[in-house]
């Protein structure tokens, strides 16, 4: 047998299409970013328009302007587009019912990934930058979102007030300042204008220790927006020696599974030259190594 002869051959020619009065008007409209459907004899609206409907009736020639949006009726995902495809990235072929039309248009949805596609999804039309008077004047459709951004931006000047300022200035000197109710003897850290229980002014400032008892705590493992620390981290309530209520701070310098209620802890300060008017001067609290405090001795602070 002789070898079968074979040679490449390309058949290529650009025909001249007569668009007719209906499709022609539709395509001409696309050039001006106008989307129209045509009304049928029985009152339906078809987009894309046709001269004769599926029942063999001539459409009326009455055009209806439509919103450039619609609903996906069905779709098929193309993960690897071919050279002649309208997009060079993954996309969906979809039947899209334009709002106000009774039929569907075959076109492209630029959804990025298949998981964004679903039947019934709302899409809006994206016009091509350069028009050619063809269906490709509609570049594609894109998913519509029922949301819009609602930015809020508020600027404040934070004035911590007389007593909290005294506390912050104390921290700047490496001291922890509390406010004492002269009658009950209760010491509040940070100090405040009045004892919330008695209503009396806490006129006297006293210095409390930078060590105390960890009464309770949590280990935070959840990340969230705006978070400054990387989880996991431990956050606890510490009743400083000389104070009558807890302050809250980080607990570190100890494995998380060794942190206990009743553990004695002390402040780990930043280097002195970095001290400012902030509780951030204390990096965290760490174990002192002293014996734990019995539950009964701190129970009232829980």
């Amino acid at each position: 047998m002789s070898e079968i002869l074979s040679a490449p051959y390309v058949l290529e020619y650009t025909y001249t299409r007569s668009t007719g009065p209906v499709v022609g008007r539709f395509l001409e409209g696309l050039r001006y970013e106008v989307l129209e459907g045509v009304r049928t004899a029985d009152g339906r609206v078809l987009c894309p328009p046709v001269e004769y409907d599926e029942q063999g009736e001539a459409t009326t020639g009455e055009f209806v302007q439509l919103r450039p949006s619609g609903t996906v009726k069905t779709w098929s995902w193309v993960e690897e587009p071919r050279k002649s495809h309208p997009l060079d990235r993954p996309f969906a072929w979809a039947l899209i019912q334009i709002d106000g039309a009774d039929n569907s248009m075959l076109h492209v949805v630029d959804a990025g990934e298949a998981k964004r596609m679903r039947t019934g999804m709302r899409v809006r039309l994206r016009w091509a930058e350069h028009k050619s008077g063809t269906i490709r004047d509609i570049a594609c459709f894109e998913p519509m979102s029922p949301f819009m951004p609602g930015p809020v931006h508020l600027e404040y000047e934070v004035n911590p007030g007389q007593h909290y300022s005294a506390y912050l200035r104390g921290l700047q000197r490496g001291q922890i300042i509390g406010g004492k109710d002269p009658e009950s003897g209760k010491v509040y850290v940070p100090p405040r204008a009045a004892d919330p229980v008695t209503g009396r002014p806490t006129s006297e400032y006293v210095e409390v220790a930078d060590r105390g008892v960890l009464t309770t705590f949590t280990i935070i493992r959840i990340p969230f927006e705006g978070q400054k620390l990387k989880p996991p981290y431990c956050f606890g309530a510490i009743v400083l020696d000389g104070a009558d209520m807890p302050i809250y701070h980080l607990i570190s310098g100890v494995p998380h599974d060794e942190i206990r209620m009743g553990m004695r802890v002390k402040a780990k300060w930043k280097p002195k030259e970095q001290w400012q008017t902030s509780l951030e001067n204390i990096l965290y609290f760490e174990p002192t190594g002293e014996p734990d405090v019995p539950f009964e001795e701190y129970e009232e602070h829980l």
Partner: protein, 382 residues
Amino acid sequence: MAEHCAVIGIGQTKHSESRRDLSIPGLVRDAAVRALQDANMSWKDIECVVIGTAPDMFEGVMMPELWLSDALGASGKPIFRVHTAGSVGGSTAVVASHLVQAGVHEKVLTLAFEKQSESNAMWALSPAVPFQPQLVAGAGGYFAPLIRSYIRRSDAHPDTGCMVAVKDRQHGLLNPDAHLHLDQSLEEVKASPMLWDPIRYSETCPSSDGAVAMVLVNDKHAARVQNPAWITGTSVRTERTFFAGRDQVNPAAGKLCAKDVYDQAGITNPLKEIDCAEVYVPFSWFEPMWLENLGFAEEGQGWRMTMEGKTKIGGEMPWNMSGGVMCTNPIGASGMLRFAEAARQVRGTAGRHQVEGAKVALGHAYGGGSQFFAMWIVSSER
């Protein structure tokens, strides 16, 4: 009290993670229309609207009551907002009931909502303000140390929180409007990750979109329905977040609020005289904590009731028949959902989560750092 007040209409939205199909006006309208239909009323019957929602940072809308007045048919009528953090749904209903009891209005629409999908409550609750390190990590970060204190103080069984989660989710399966429909086993809940030790993922409430509305009326209009829920006690109490000697686990304000509402309703033994309760339990461990705070159990003993199954539907004291906050948490609405479920129970309209023969029910809400409390007792009898 000049007038008796009854709940004659209750409506709520289907709750979900994102009601992307509805705007905020559409969301509140949906609940309000359902409440009006239930009350056999129309917009023109309503004299006044009392609305509640969580702090403005949660949705980024200042004074939403002004924006929502048209959606709530409030043009030319008084409308105002109540604002008490997480307890707001409860205190909003209380304020609305007072307007009726005081004889100011005869027919009041009260409503609460939250569209959490539009915001981020963790962000809103965890501000990084000047002069201090950012320490708190959302509501869970605040409440986890209190839960640890409760467990230590009461020597509670470590599975208690998981048992509540399983029970509330089982109840939620009976409630078509609930956000979560989860059939979870104890093992599944125990295996879920720790978010804020000792709080696991499955021991926390979801973030929900939703709204709830009620129509409150005086005697004259209560006969519009067969089965009004009569409000026999209402109370609101508050305390400071931090003060020396504060009991954060079992707050005084909660105990005082409960005592006040029981006194008004003539209740001396809540375990015997109340048939069921809807209580604000956003983290499962708060069920045993509130069982004690509200006088259903001795201090340190609440967890035993949970472990013995007494708080299930069919148990001695059903709690959170609707699935509670553990299944549905549109924060601003969560308190009013509790109040509304209590009213549904005594009206006998709670569907598959109905407690048979319920005549007296407690609705409860709390907020802030366990510092704002609102409660009501509703009864099938005036």
